[in-house]
Amino acid sequence: MNGFGGFVLRRAVGTVITLLAISVIIYVVFYATPGNVAQITCGPRCSPEQVRQVTEQLRLDDPLYLRYWHFLVGILVGRDYSTGTSLEHCAAPCLGLSYQSDQQVLDIILTKLPVSLSLVLGAMVLWLVLGVGTGVLSAWRRGRISERVLTAVTLAGTATPVFVIGLVLMIVVCGEFQLLPFPQYVPFTDDPEQWAWNLLLPWFSLALIEAAAFARLTRASMLETLAEDHIRTFRAYGVGERAIIRRHALRGALAPVIALNANNVGSAVGGAVLTETLFGLPGIGQELVHAVKVVDLPVVVGMVLVIGFFVVLANAVADVLYAVADRRVVLA
């Protein structure tokens, strides 16, 4: 326990180690992945000679450790790349150049990240409202019909893959009743109102998938808190049920909800692949799956690192929030 500074330092060191390990794993795994990268990059009807030149240019001949070393060097001090027609400097932290598009991986990530963050943060608000709301209601109305219905609805959300929920929502809301236009990503900076309208359905679809877990968690934690002795004492002293729920029971649910939320937000930044694909949102997840398919290693490694970073970051933020919410907790 040496204060917030120590916490940040320990977390930072841990993050770096985790991310390094992840990058090594990805390098090794993708080294073993089938697919002739040079042929894919060059084009299906490239001649063996052209393929050889592409191999040389992308330095695909280098042994694995050398390629990884260049990658690390790029992150620390930057690298120079030849695209064949020009020389390009990629400043530190350089995550490399995409095999496929010759764009800097960092640039690709920076254009995709706002989309993913827009999707995930908006959906987060919805899933917290839906999930925690349902959880509170069902803890309060425990055993009644309304609780069972709520539980069934949230579970239906969890049990249905997002490509089904999203498509059906889209067909009904946008196609049949035409309540909303078909989603099409509009950057927040261009038009905040259109941004929100267009993201409404994606937010809703993603939130429906996640809400059930929050509902279960909130409900269970609240029930546990409500069963505690001091709550019964409050009740005995005539404290109203609403006040108990608001002041005490909800507080008990706060910690697990924060933790689960951190986990979900972190992994959804790169994991909302299906939602992004279905709604045509040009985010990290969609790009990542594409990069995996064409074995575009620099893009895959770069994106996985960014996603890993968000998971770690989200968890750290959760710890801080939790400490703020509950003085008794010590940051470790």
Partner: protein, 347 residues
Amino acid sequence: MSETLVASRTPGTDTPVPGASGASRFWRRLRARPSALVAAAVVALLVLVALAAPLLTAVEGQDPTTYHPSLIDSARGGVPLGSFGGIGADHWLGVEPQTGRDLFARLVYGARVSLGVALAATALQVVLGVAIGVGAALGNRWVDQLLSRATDIIVAMPLMVMSLALLAIVPESFPRTVLVTFVIGLIGWGNIAKIVRAQTLTLKGLDYVSAARLSGWGRWRIARRELLPGLAAPVITYAALLVPSNISVEAALSFLGVGVKPPTPSWGQMLTAADVWYQAAPQYLLLPAGALFLTVLALTVLGDGVRTALDPRAASRLRVGTGRRREAKAGETAHSESDKPHKEGNA
């Protein structure tokens, strides 16, 4: 990750169960919950249907792979002929668009794959998660560091990327269903390990465990006799959530083209193929979606029931007045300052 935080991640983690309680009490408590019994019956039925798939389809007189081109309208994209997707005496739930394969047969055979993959993957996740979580908590500092770091890495690694990559690397001749199970299982144990490690640390600090240690019990004996029962409640709760999520992962893998191999049916594969048919042949989508929903609902209710039955405090909550109580609030773990004194609740 701070253990206090993780400890609180799952409700019920703060309620260790002493080894004394025994199975009979568990069953008694479980039987007292009719919803849990219904859910158990549904789960049993689903498993039975999956196991008896060959028998059931034989009764129907169909199999999941034979094409029936005469039952579909080729000119209209292969939509099933007849009302409600071709439901009739021969095909109890109608036929699949484009192929005319029997939907009932595919649904029950699909249950084998989906339930099999999801349950086996969950079991793998639980075994790995418990082993690594307990190992980290009971091991020395270095073991803890190593295992916790490995857990962090697994949690931070995007599941889809690793699944896609692993499924591409392993030779095609390896049985795909087993492979999908392993991939889901091997990638998804991170959170359970975190929960278990935190919970174990909490338990370790508790009086009765300390007492056992002081009385000279070995590490493994303590783990087996004192810790594992205390881990059961949170692990079961979490596992009940993992099963449906594993079914979804299997569906997502199918969606991305790396699921189980055709012509083997799975619910995930059916959902993937069926979503576009929502308007033209709704039953094609509704059948696997309904089956999946039923499974998730039953497992959740059953999970709740089992957890409550395992958890004496929850039981006491059900019958207010039986005074066997224990308090071990999330914040009051070994590593936290506590503003509330520990209450000795172990009767």
